[in-house]
Amino acid sequence: MNGVVTYMKRDFTKWFRGRVAVISALVMPAAWLIFVGLALPVKFTGNYLDFITPGILVMTMLSAGLSGGALLMFDKILGFLNKFLALPTPRGSILVGKILFITGRGLVQTTIILVIALVIGSTLLNPVQYGLTYFILFLFGVMISAFATTIALYLDDHDSYSAFNTMISMPLFFTSSALMPYSVMPAWLATIAHLNPLSYAIDAVRDVTAGGFPMVPIAVLIVLTTIILLVCMYVFRKVTV
C-alpha cells in the first residue's frame, strides 16, 4: 500500500510540474462542451448542455486514460521500470499506482469540466448524485487506464501506441451515446452504441443526473473493469519477470 502511494506521488508531482500538459488536456473537452453543448440546435431535449455533459465527462476520462497508457511503457523504455522491479516493494504496486494515478488525474480533469459546465448553465445536482457520478467515472477510469496500459505494454513502442490511440479515441466517442439518445440514432448506430463500453458509463452518469440509480450499467462496468484488470496484471507479469 505504501508503495502504491509513493508511486502515485511521483507521478502527480511530475504532472503538476508540467504545467502546459495540465491545461492542454482540458482544451478539447471544454471546447466540446461550449461549442457543441451550447451551440448545437437539437429537438429531442430542451437543455442539450445537460444531455451532453455526461458524455463529455466520460470523454475527458477516456482521453486521460488513453494518454496515460503510455506512462508505464515510457517507464519501461527509459529504464525506470527495471530500477523499480529490483526493489523489495511488491511489484504489483507499480501497476496499481500507475492505474490509480491515471484515474486520479482523469478525475481532477473531469472536476474542472464539471465546474465549467455549471458555469455555462448546466443543472446543479445533489451531493449523492455527484458521489455516484464520481464512482462511475472512477470505475470507467480504472477500466480504460488498465486497458490502455495493457495495449501500450503489449505494443512496446511509442509510435505504434500513439497511432493506436488516435485510431480508437474518436470512433469510440462517436459510436457511443454521448451526443444523442438511442431513439434518434439510425438503427445501425444504435446497435454499435449499445455494444460500446463508453455508452454504459455515459448512460449510467446520465441516469444518475436524472435522479435514478443505474444498476445494470454499473454492474456491466464492474464486470468489464475486473476482466480488463486481470488481463492487465497478466500482461504486466509477463513483461516484467
Binding site: 505504501n2 508531482t13 511530475k14 529504464g79 525506470f80 527495471n82 522491479l85 526493489l87 523489495p88 516493494t89
Partner: protein, 318 residues
C-alpha cells in the same frame, strides 16, 4: 557465505545463448565483469537482480536463491542500470526521497540527507535534475541505491558516457563503499578502469568466463613483454622462437616475448620476410587489454546479423 554465487547460470533468448553455464563466486570485493558488447554482462546482472529468469542453473545473493526467494534478494541489493533513469522534473532530494519511501527507510529525511552528503550533492539537492550534469546524475543514482544500505551493489556500466573527471569521482565513491564493507559487482568494457579500481575481474566472452583473477594475476599470466607492431599488407603469424602471437586488432598485431628488447629485431625481420611491411614497433608492459585480447581473441562485431533475433533480444532486455 559468499556474496554472490552462481552455478551453471544460463540464459537463452530463443536460440541465442546469452549466458552459457556461468559458474562464479564473488566475495566481499569489487568484482568487474569485463567483456565486449553483447557478451552477456547485462543479462548476467539482470538475472542476479531477479529481473530475468534463468533458463537453467541457479544463483544466490547473500545466501538467498534468486529464483525462489526473489524478495529477500531484492532487500539485500541495489541495482543501477546503465540507462541513467532519474526524473528530471524532480529535485535531487525528491528523487532520493522517493526511493527511501519505497524501501521504507526510517527516518527517511535523515537518511536522504546522509546519502546526498556522501555523494557530495548536498549543495545542489534542491535543484531540478534537469540542471544536473551526467556525472551528477550518476552520483544521484548511486545515492538512490545507497539509501537502504544494501549488502551488494550492482552497477551496469557505471561510467559509460562520462568524462574523465566524473569517471574518476564515481570510482573513488565505489572504492569508499567497498571500504565500508559493501560488495560491488560492476560490468564495464573499460579495461583501464577495471585494472585500476577492481579487486578481481572476470572476462566474459560469448556468455562464458574466459579468464578470472586479480588484474595483477591476469597480467602476470602473460608474464612477458608485449610487442605491438603496426603493419601493412597480408599478415600471417611468423614463427620465431620465444615470441608468441597474441592477437590482432585492425592493423595492429601483438606478441609477447620473455625479453622484449632482444625480440624486437628478430620480430621485425620475421615480419618483413613474411611479406608485410612494418610501420612501427613498440614495447611495453602487459595491460588488461592484452589479457582481454588473448582471452577473447580477435574482437569483431558479430556479422551474419539476424534481425529477428536481435529484435527479440532487445525487446526482452528492456
Amino acid at each position: 557465505m559468499k556474496a554472490i554465487e552462481t552455478t551453471n547460470l544460463t540464459k537463452y533468448y530463443g536460440a541465442l545463448c546469452a549466458v552459457d553455464h556461468l559458474t562464479l563466486s564473488v566475495n566481499n570485493e569489487i568484482f568487474a565483469l569485463l567483456g565486449p558488447n553483447g557478451s552477456g554482462k547485462t543479462t548476467t546482472v539482470l538475472m542476479l537482480t531477479t529481473l530475468l529468469k534463468p533458463t537453467e542453473g541457479s544463483a544466490t545473493v547473500c545466501g538467498y536463491d534468486i529464483s525462489r526467494d526473489g524478495e529477500s534478494v531484492r532487500k539485500k541489493l541495489s541495482y543501477v542500470p546503465q540507462d541513467m533513469a532519474v526524473d528530471i522534473k524532480l529535485t535531487g532530494r525528491e528523487n532520493v526521497r522517493f526511493f527511501a519511501d519505497l524501501y521504507g527507510v526510517s527516518p527517511a529525511s535523515d537518511r536522504v540527507d546522509e546519502v546526498l552528503a556522501i555523494m557530495e550533492l548536498s549543495d545542489r539537492a534542491d535543484d531540478l535534475i534537469r540542471t544536473y550534469s551526467g556525472g551528477m546524475r550518476r552520483r544521484l543514482e548511486l545515492a538512490q541505491a545507497l539509501v537502504h544500505e544494501p549488502s551488494v551493489l550492482f552497477l551496469d556500466e557505471p561510467t559509460i558516457g562520462l568524462d574523465v573527471a566524473a569517471r574518476k569521482k564515481i570510482w573513488e565513491h565505489i572504492r569508499a563503499l567497498r571500504k565500508k564493507g559493501m560488495t560491488i559487482f560492476v560490468t564495464t568494457h573499460y579495461m583501464d578502469e577495471a585494472d585500476q579500481f577492481c579487486d578481481r575481474v572476470g572476462i566474459i566472452s560469448k556468455g562464458r568466463i574466459a579468464a578470472l583473477g586479480t588484474p595483477m594475476e591476469l597480467k602476470a599470466r602473460l608474464m612477458k613483454d608485449v610487442i605491438t607492431a603496426r603493419i601493412e599488407g597480408v599478415f600471417s603469424p611468423p614463427f620465431v622462437e620465444g615470441i608468441v602471437f597474441v592477437g590482432q586488432s585492425g592493423d595492429e598485431v601483438s606478441f609477447t616475448a620473455e625479453n622484449g628488447r632482444e625480440a624486437l629485431p628478430l620480430l621485425a625481420d620475421a615480419l618483413g620476410k613474411s611479406g608485410c611491411t612494418v610501420r612501427a614497433l613498440s614495447l611495453r608492459e602487459p595491460t588488461l587489454d592484452d589479457v582481454f585480447l588473448q582471452a577473447v581473441g580477435q574482437q569483431e562485431e558479430p556479422h551474419g546479423f539476424e534481425d529477428g533475433k536481435f529484435r527479440t533480444m532487445l525487446r526482452r532486455r528492456r
